[in-house]
Amino acid sequence: MAVIRDVMAAFELYQPTSVADAQKLLEQHGPDAWVLAGGLDSFDWLKDRIRKPKVVVDLSGIEELRGVRAATDGIEIGAMTTLTGVVNHPIVKQKYGLLAQSAEVVASPQIRNQGTIGGNVSQDTRCWYYRGGWPCYRAGGNICYADTPEGRNREHAILHAERCVAVNPSDSAPALIALDAKFVIRTPKGERVVDAEDYFIGPEIDITRLHILQPGDLLTAIRIPSTWAGAQFYFEKVRDRNVWDFPLLNVASAMVTSGDAIERIRIAVNGAAARPLRLKAVEDAVRGKPRNAATGEMAGKLAVQGAVPLQFNAYKIPLMRNLVKRAIVGIRVEEATWAS
């Protein structure tokens, strides 16, 4: 299939200046409308002419969607706040360093200056069969080209694969799950606030989307409660090159200890499934246990239970096991020893 780059199909461009106007437009045009945030995911689709929306609603002119604000309990980040804006915000750095760490390793500085936190959590998968325009399950067809004996699936899912084996590529998503963030969504029926982990869906729920946003819906803000402010954080991203790359896997944890013991913890990984996975079984297993290598080992093994490798991604299983172990132990990269 010939891919024509740089010549987008014509569309009506709307540039609303308020959330109310944006939502009215999205409601009016329903599935014909495309929401444009930073444009870093959108322009791939549009320039490759794989997606040809009739209407594009550009959110860049809506000031109320920008910025980090103090809330009654924690902070609220506007969905159009750039990743650089998140990384550099003093409260984020001081109290929610996990988010800053995760946002800081997204792609490259130029992309972080343009990309938004809302776009980062709502971006589509990078499976090249899907992005290449093939009629796979995710594109509404009846096959997964990656999950075949010859499919190139080194970057694909090891957990919860259900027909489609694509993975969620967001770096900030697991950090937000670990911080127990809430996503604020404006829908035609009113405002809806969902837990971060419930914002993401796998192919078993809807194979054509990575999140719960329906046509007409708009992610307006992300609220982070103070529950985990100042906790001990761990974020690690493994990628093929150390800049401008999507994660092969990443892990984010927020932990509160009491003496040597883990008092409470939230931990999530991404790049292992079509949605970032909160590892509840691991959280339950390590709670009350000493924060040491043995607990980390046990947590790592527990995390990969049920993992099924594809033809070319078996490496992800020991990788995830080690990342979870390191997140529990809090070990620094330079001190780490890897178990294969």
């Binding site: 299939m1 093939w134 009629p135 594109a139 509404g140 067809g141 009846n142 096959i143 997964c144 080209y145 999950d147 075949t148 004996p149 694969a161 259900e162 027909r163 869906i201 078993e204 729920i205 809807d206």
Partner: protein
Amino acid sequence: MGFVTWATNPWGQSVPIHIAWFLIWVSAIAGLLFLIAHATWLRYFAKEKEFAGDASPEVIARIPKHIPRHSLVARMFHWIMAASMLTLLFTAFLPKVGTQFNWVTYHWIAGAVLTISILFHVIHASFWLDFWSIWPDGTDVEDARRRVLRFFGRSAPPPRKFAKYPLENKLFHGVIILCGLSVIVTGVFMMFRVRTIFFPRNPYLFGDMTWGLMYVLHGLAGVGLIALVMMHVYFGLRPEKLPITKSMIFGWMDRDFYLQEHDPRRWAVETPSSSTSNSPSSSIPHRIEGRGLTDAG
């Protein structure tokens, strides 16, 4: 607006991928219109049923109070099949109309239950029941001709009473066989495309065109079943058909209903003993003349 959705595969071939989903609504609305039309016709226009002469008084006198119609095994099959069919329809089409849930696993499990139950039914009906009782025979065709002629005001003798199953039942069963086998055969192959406990996954079992046609056939038969199931439930709930529905629960139907609708000469009935019979003549179980056994055995 096409009935089939097409796509271009990596080799540049245009292949069907599934039916157009608006057909779900077409089937549901068609089913609903049929129900409304039928209920209206029965309520305002239908004439009293008229049948040709009854069996002899001696035969009628030997008919027991309860006529065994469906054995426990047959009833269990029916309800298992009904549950799996409803599960299949809901898990297939609710996600297409906006209710999102983990449908695939439930769908293939229900499909496996349906497949096994149908296989059981084929064997059970072939060797333990009266296999031919559900297939239209010459009398059905002749009676159907009479009913059509009389409906249009032409002269024709009244039709005879039914055998075990009215012609409409038999035709419905035939259509269900067509749709059911279509979804089952295509569905079994489609299970090679997902991870199940039955087969190793093999998406390249067929070429894209064959797979596409399989998905289209599965979809067409599936949406057809929406209307068919609506009709089946509707008839099952109609007051004049309730004795038949009750027989699918309790296994028997009343003597009065049997004599009103069925011909003992066409549907033989075991008369177990005089204690359950209206006849004082015999306490020895015997069979009233007619073709075929009931499926009570």
